[in-house]
């Protein structure tokens, strides 16, 4: 039986792990390779690196981090941030990433998703969907795609965009609520559910985890195939093993042999 995945996410800037509160306020939380090794040993099901400054700074540091992580960790690694071209994808895959997460470039040019999928296979193309709720309370729920860490609206409906990029070849969607990110108030379950129900590919719930019940809700109520979290793991609030035990106790199928 396929198991629900827990994916610790490391935001990386200048080769160091940071965690933004609403993507704007940064705190240093260590060496990404050491963190990756610790999560590998702790039984994480995948790892995710998001290079939050990749669009305007040197890529060499990130590639070095990816390469050293792949040497030490025999588990799947997704890398995102600033990926614009097929050559960017190739460079990351050759450095040791298994999947790449595309955000702004997919918004600007959905055909880029197709080119990546045709070259490297849909299985390694993750599209990151950063969405904010745009409907007022009481109105039918609606969300819009934002780029640039949630600062720039695009006018694109999140559900329509999810369907579009899936048709274009995305193999997985990383759905982040920009309203919830860093707030520790739980995933936006309605957003996660609406996208999971709209597409045939796996959805990763992201943005806003405050406790272990939020992980359960992301899967049970949100329909996610995987849950991504950062702060609750990075700052020692919970271990991956505690999270897995909690989710298994709630009736979810987890990998407990790691």
């Amino acid at each position: 039986m396929l198991k629900t995945r827990i994916i610790p996410c490391l935001d990386v800037k200048d080769g160091r792990v940071v965690k933004g509160v609403q993507f704007l306020e940064l705190r240093d939380a260590g060496d990404p390779v050491e963190a990756a090794k610790a999560y590998d040993a702790a039984g994480a099901d995948e790892l995710c690196f998001l290079d939050i400054t990749a669009s305007h700074e040197d890529r060499g540091t990130l590639l070095d981090v990816v390469s050293r992580t792949a040497e030490a960790c025999f588990m799947p690694l997704t890398v995102g941030g600033g990926i614009r071209t097929v050559a960017d994808i190739r460079t990351l895959l050759l450095a040791g990433a298994d999947k790449v997460s595309i955000n702004t470039a997919a918004v600007n040019d959905p055909d880029f998703v197709t080119r990546g999928a045709e070259k490297f296979g849909s299985q390694c193309i993750v599209v990151a969907i950063d969405a904010k709720r745009t409907s007022a309370p009481g109105e039918p729920a609606a969300w819009q795609i934002f780029t640039h860490g949630g600062r720039k609206p695009t006018g694109l409906d999140a559900i329509d965009f999810a369907r579009l990029v899936t048709a274009r070849g995305a193999g997985e969607l990383l759905v982040t609520s920009m309203d919830r990110d860093g707030m520790r108030s739980g995933y936006d379950i309605a957003l996660t559910r609406a996208i999971a129900d709209a597409v045939s590919v796996p959805v990763i719930a992201s943005g806003g985890v405050g406790g272990l019940d939020d992980l359960v809700a992301g899967v049970r109520d949100g329909g996610a195939s995987a849950v991504l979290a950062a702060s609750i793991f990075h700052f020692g609030q919970h271990t991956v093993a505690e999270a897995k035990a909690h989710m298994a106790a709630a009736g979810l199928a987890m990998r407990l042999d790691a």
């Binding site: 198991k3 025999f74 040791g96 070259k119 490297f120 796996p202």
Partner: protein, 220 residues
Amino acid sequence: MSAETVAIIDYGSGNLHSAVKAFERAAREAGLDATRILLTRDAATVAGADRVVLPGVGAYTDCRRGLDAVCGMVEAMEHAAHVRSRPFLGICVGMQLLASRGLEYATTPGLDWIEGDVGPIAPSDPSLKVPHMGWNTLEADRDHALLADIPLGPDGLHAYFVHSFAFMPRDPADRVAHSDYGGPLTAMVARNNVAGTQFHPEKSQRLGLALIANFLRWRP
């Protein structure tokens, strides 16, 4: 045991870095310190290797094209596997290439070493997502040396999968293990000295390192 060479074929198919590192670590942990892991795109090295690994990530057609683009590589693989009967392991699309045909986007001829087609995954339960992505357990269809001493079944170890297409061998006896995902998906095939895994042993932590160690000791 004398020093062996293991050729991992580099034909431009994605990341082979972690595959090399996983084979090196599995060799070390198995006490096979003298085993040399070679990442190579040289046909003569593959033809003369003691063991051969064909990895593969990406689209079937693209992988087949990449393999054909390396001068003499398919012939070298056939020499190692069929003339010299050396242990041969295909991984993911490398395993799918053992089939007769791939039906991903376009119909593409495979190596036809193990007859069958590679077709789209169609789970009986429409709520199941495709790609089949993540950690699944293995159910053995028959005993195989590469699965020796690895706990299988619902309470066994997990293997990491990420694929939208699956190998359907024509002869059920060629299927060694499957995973359940709205029906059985071929997880491992084998015939004589040739084997292939749909999952990624180099990404499968304990199960993966154990399977690689078994491959490095395999005497088919």
